[in-house]
C-alpha cells in the first residue's frame, strides 16, 4: 500500500503545472460550495431560532382540536391542566421534568380595532412576560419603551401594526375581542412599548400583553392556548416529547393534547430544510463536474504511460494494484484540491462572517419588502468546511475509478511496443 501511494505521489510531482491545473476546478467547486452553504446556513439558522422562539418552542403542547383548526384560534380548546386542574398546577408538575429547562405559556387571541369606517384585525398574545425575558430574551426585540407590567392593562405592539393604528408609545387604545363565552367586549390599554422582531408577520399583526391580564379579560382564568416547552438546546426535542408524553400518560391528557417538535411545525422550517438538501445535491453536482476535469487528466496520463504500465504489469503488479495506483493519483488530486479549496473557502467565510456581505447595491431596487436581509453574515463553521471537503474527496475519488480501470487493460506486451 505504501509503495502505491509513493508511486502516485511521485507521478503527481512529475507534472506540477498539470496537477495544479487539474485540481483548480475542484478548488473552485469546493470554495463555491462552502461559501454558498455558509450563507444558507446563516439565513436558516436565524430563521430557525426566530421560529423556535416565537412560534414553536422546542416542542409545542396544544389541544388536538385547537391544532386542527388553528387559524380560528378557538378559545374553547385550551391547555387547562392534565385533567382540568388548571394551568398553574400543570406547569408546576412539568417543571419537575429534567428534560425541560423552560416552559412558556401563551394565550393567543384575535382582536380588532375599529375607527371610522375601517377595521384593523390583529393578534393578541397573552404571555408570561418575566418568563419570556428569561427564556428567550424577549426584551431584545424591544425597539422603544418597555414591556408591559404584569397586573396592568398594558400592551407592547409590533412597530408596523403601531404605524397602521396611528399610535405611539404612551398612547391609549381600545381594542375589541371575543371572550371565551363568545361575547364581544372591549378594553382600553396603555401602549408601553414598540416591538421590532424583524419578522414582517409578527411586526404587522401582533401585540403582547401580560398573561394574567388576558386570562382576566377573556374569562379564561388559569388557562392558556398553548405551552412552548424548551430544553437545553433544540436537539433535545425528542427527549422532551418522550418525557412529557409519558407524563401525560400517567397524569392524564394524552388523549387531548398533542406535542409537536419544531422540526415538524411545517411552513418555512420544512421549506428551508428541503432547500438545504437541494443545495447539498447541487454541490455534489458541481464537484462531480469539476471531477470530470481530473478524469480528463487521468485519461491522458494513462495514455502517456502505456509503456510504463506495461512494464509494471510484466514485473508482476496485479490489475487491482494498477487500478489502485491511478485511483490513488486521482484521489490525491481530489484531496489536494478539496483541502486547498476548504482552506481558501474557510478563510473567505471567516472574513465575511465578520465583515458581512452587503447585497444592498444588487438588491437596491427591491425595497423593504424583501424577505432576506440585504447584509448577510455567513456562518463560519468547521462542520461546513468538513462537509464540503469530504464531499470533494469522495466524489473525485469515485470519479477516478472509471479511467483507472482502463489502465489495468493495458497488456504487458505494450511495454515492448514503440508507441511513436
Amino acid at each position: 500500500m505504501r509503495y502505491i501511494l509513493s508511486i502516485a505521489l511521485r507521478n503527481l510531482r512529475r507534472h506540477k503545472l498539470r496537477t495544479l491545473l487539474s485540481i483548480s476546478a475542484i478548488i473552485i467547486a469546493v470554495i463555491v460550495g462552502i461559501f454558498y452553504r455558509s450563507i444558507l446556513i446563516a439565513y436558516s439558522e436565524s430563521t430557525f431560532e426566530n421560529f423556535i422562539q416565537l412560534e414553536s418552542g422546542h416542542v409545542r403542547l396544544v389541544d388536538e382540536e385547537y391544532a386542527r383548526r388553528e387559524r380560528v384560534l378557538s378559545l374553547q380548546y385550551t391547555v387547562d391542566g392534565f385533567a382540568g386542574e388548571g394551568l398553574e398546577a400543570m406547569m408546576a408538575a412539568l417543571k419537575e421534568e429534567e428534560a425541560l429547562s423552560g416552559i412558556l405559556p401563551r394565550l393567543r387571541f384575535p382582536a380588532f380595532y375599529a375607527e371610522g369606517d375601517e377595521m384593523e384585525h390583529m393578534l393578541g398574545w397573552g404571555v408570561d412576560i418575566e418568563g419570556e425575558v428569561e427564556e428567550i430574551d424577549f426584551d431584545r426585540h424591544l425597539a422603544e419603551g418597555r414591556l408591559p407590567d404584569p397586573g396592568s392593562r398594558e400592551i407592547a405592539v409590533g412597530y408596523s401594526l403601531l404605524d397602521k393604528l396611528n399610535r405611539q408609545v404612551g398612547d391609549r387604545i381600545t381594542l375589541l375581542y371575543n371572550t371565551s363565552y363568545n361575547s364581544l367586549q372591549g378594553s382600553t390599554f396603555t401602549i408601553t412599548g414598540k416591538i421590532d422582531t424583524g419578522l414582517p408577520y409578527f411586526d404587522a399583526n401582533i401585540f403582547v400583553t401580560p398573561l394574567d391580564q388576558s386570562q382576566d379579560f377573556l374569562d379564561m382564568s388559569d388557562r392558556a392556548t398553548e405551552l412552548l416547552l424548551f430544553g437545553s438546546n433544540r436537539d433535545q426535542d425528542s427527549s422532551i416529547v418522550s418525557a412529557v408524553s409519558s407524563r401525560l400518560e400517567t397524569d392524564g391528557g394524552s388523549d387531548r393534547y398533542q406535542l409537536t417538535s419544531w422540526r415538524d411545525s411545517g411552513g418555512i422550517v420544512q421549506w428551508l430544510m428541503a432547500y438545504q438538501r437541494i443545495i447539498f445535491v447541487v454541490m455534489a453536482g458541481i464537484v462531480f463536474l469539476a471531477s470530470l476535469i481530473i478524469i480528463n487528466t487521468l485519461m491522458m496520463v494513462i495514455k502517456e504511460r502505456r509503456k510504463e504500465i506495461g512494464t509494471m504489469s510484466s514485473l508482476g503488479l496485479k490489475d487491482k494494484e494498477i487500478v489502485m495506483i491511478f485511483t490513488c493519483e486521482g484521489a490525491l488530486m481530489g484531496t489536494l484540491g478539496s483541502v486547498i479549496g476548504a482552506i481558501i473557502g474557510g478563510g473567505l467565510t471567516a472574513y465575511f462572517s465578520v465583515v458581512g456581505l452587503d447585497f444592498t447595491e444588487v438588491m437596491g431596487s427591491m425595497g423593504d419588502s424583501t424577505l432576506i436581509d440585504s447584509v448577510v453574515f455567513p456562518t463560519f463553521s468547521l462542520e461546513n468546511l468538513l462537509v464540503a471537503m469530504v464531499l470533494g474527496i469522495i466524489v473525485s475519488t469515485m470519479a477516478c475509478i472509471i479511467p483507472a480501470r482502463q489502465a489495468a487493460k493495458v497488456e504487458p506486451s505494450e511495454a515492448m511496443r514503440d508507441l511513436k
Partner: protein, 414 residues
C-alpha cells in the same frame, strides 16, 4: 480557412479528451437552462395566479385609495361615467372589466371567527373575466339577487362550512357603525392561488354596497383584463392619461399588475441573481476545464508548434489556431448542452416537478405549492450557447499564447 481545418483535425485527434471537456460544459449549460425554465415556470404560474384570480392585468382606482389599499378603506372609491368606461373597454387590448368592492370583515358562525376580506363582485363580469366560477369544486356560483357567497376550500374547512350553510360577516360601514351581512355558502372554490382560498369571500356587489352604505355605482377598483399581460405597463400609462384628461376632478389612475405584485417582482429579481451566480460558476468551471485541456494539448504539441512557427506561422496565428480549438470544444459542449437542456425542459414542461413534495403549510406569497411546469424561452438557449463558445475561446487564448510564444529553436532542440 486552413487554420479552421487544422483546428478541426486537432480536435478529432483526441476525441475522448475533446468530448470530456465538452461534457463539462454541456452539463453546466444543461443545468443552467433547466434552472432558468424552472424559475420561469414558477414565476409564470405565480403571475397567472395574480392576473387570473386576483388583480387582473390593470386596476383603475383613485391615487389616494392606492396609497392605503392595504387597509381596504371605504373612502376614495372609484365611480366612472358610462362613457369613460366604454372608451376604456373599447380599447383594442382590453378584453373585459369587472368592478369590485373590497372590505375588511370578520367571518363568524356564532362560535368561531376569522378575519378576512370580503369582495363584492359584479356576478356576470367577474365570471366572464376571471376564473372564479370555473374553480368551483362543490355547489354552484352565486344566483343573481340571492344573499349567497363563494368561499375557498381551506377557509371552508377552517370554519367547518359546507354548501348551504349560513354564516355572517361583521363589517364596519361607511357610517362608522357595525353591520352584519348574512350569507349562505353557494359554492366552494379551489384555486391555485392560496391567498384567494384562505382569505377571500366573494359576494354580490349590490349586497356589499347596501351593507356598507356605499353608493350604487362606486367600487374599490375596476379590474381590467387584457389580451396579453405584457401589454399591461404601456396600456396602464395610456389609460391613466385618458383618465386624467377627462373632465372629472378625481385623481383616478390605472395601475398595472406589476405595480400590484411588488413581492413577486422582488422574488423575480432575487431568482435572477441566483441565475447569475450559477452562470458565474459555469464560467469558472468551463474556464478551468478548457484551460486545462488546452495546456495539456499545448504541452503535447510543443514540437508541432515549433515546426509550425519554423515554417512561418506567426505567434498571433498559432494563438488563434489553438484558441479556435478551444472555441470548437465550446461549440460542441454548447450544442450538446442545449440539446440536453431542451430535453430536460421538455420533460419539465410536460410532466412538471413537485418541489414542495412532503412539505406542509404555505408560504406567505401568492405561489401555489402545486406541481411546477417549465416554461420555454428560446432566448436563454441562444444566449447560453454563445456564452459558452465565447468563454471557451477566451479561456483558450491565454494558455495558447503561452505555448505559441515559445522559441521554435529551443523546442526543436529538445
Amino acid at each position: 480557412m486552413l487554420i479552421i481545418k487544422i483546428a478541426l483535425r486537432n480536435l478529432s485527434r483526441h476525441k475522448k479528451r475533446t468530448i470530456f471537456t465538452a461534457i463539462v460544459i454541456a452539463v453546466a449549460i444543461c443545468f443552467y437552462v433547466f434552472a432558468d425554465a424552472l424559475i420561469l415556470g414558477m414565476m409564470d404560474s405565480s403571475y397567472e395566479n395574480i392576473t387570473e384570480y386576483e388583480f387582473g392585468h390593470i386596476q383603475l382606482m383613485s391615487g389616494e385609495y392606492w396609497e392605503d389599499k392595504d387597509d381596504l378603506p371605504l373612502q376614495n372609491l372609484i365611480s366612472l361615467e358610462e362613457e369613460t368606461l366604454a372608451r376604456i373597454a373599447g380599447r383594442p387590448e382590453v378584453t373585459g372589466y369587472a368592478p369590485r368592492l373590497d372590505f375588511s370583515a370578520e367571518m363568524t358562525d356564532g362560535r368561531d371567527s376569522i378575519p378576512l376580506i370580503g369582495r363584492g363582485i359584479d356576478l356576470e363580469q367577474e365570471a366572464s373575466n376571471f376564473r372564479i366560477r370555473d374553480s368551483i369544486i362543490e355547489g354552484s356560483y352565486i344566483e343573481e339577487g340571492e344573499p349567497e357567497a363563494v368561499i375557498g376550500q381551506s377557509l371552508a374547512e377552517d370554519m367547518e362550512l359546507e354548501v348551504g350553510d349560513f354564516f355572517m360577516l361583521i363589517v364596519r360601514t361607511r357610517g362608522e357603525s357595525f353591520n352584519v351581512i348574512d350569507l349562505t355558502v353557494a359554492g366552494i372554490i379551489n384555486t391555485p392561488n392560496p391567498y384567494i382560498n384562505d382569505n377571500v369571500v366573494f359576494l354580490p356587489i349590490d349586497l356589499a354596497r347596501d351593507a356598507l352604505l356605499v353608493e350604487d355605482n362606486q367600487a374599490s377598483h375596476i379590474s381590467l383584463k387584457l389580451t396579453d399581460r405584457e401589454l399591461a405597463a404601456d396600456s396602464s400609462t395610456e389609460i391613466s392619461e385618458l383618465l386624467t384628461a377627462g373632465p372629472a376632478s378625481e385623481n383616478y389612475r390605472a395601475y398595472s399588475w406589476e405595480e400590484g405584485a411588488e413581492d413577486l417582482i422582488v422574488m423575480q429579481e432575487y431568482s435572477d441573481m441566483v441565475l447569475i451566480l450559477v452562470l458565474g460558476v459555469i464560467l469558472l468551471l468551463a474556464m478551468a476545464g478548457i484551460a486545462n485541456t488546452v495546456i495539456l494539448s499545448v504541452i503535447e504539441r510543443f514540437k508541432e508548434i515549433g515546426m509550425m512557427k519554423a515554417m512561418g506561422m506567426k505567434i498571433k496565428e498559432v494563438t488563434f489556431l489553438i484558441g479556435l480549438e478551444a472555441a470548437g470544444i465550446g461549440i460542441l459542449g454548447g450544442l450538446l448542452g442545449v440539446t440536453l437542456g431542451a430535453g430536460a425542459v421538455y420533460l419539465l414542461s410536460t410532466y412538471g416537478i413537485n418541489i414542495y413534495a412532503g412539505m406542509e403549510g404555505e408560504l406567505d406569497l401568492p405561489i401555489s405549492m402545486a406541481v411546477i411546469y417549465g416554461s420555454w424561452k428560446p432566448g436563454t438557449f441562444i444566449f447560453v450557447f454563445f456564452y459558452s463558445v465565447i468563454i471557451s475561446f477566451i479561456s483558450g487564448l491565454i494558455p495558447a499564447y503561452w505555448g505559441a510564444k515559445k522559441n521554435p529553436v529551443d523546442i526543436l532542440h529538445e
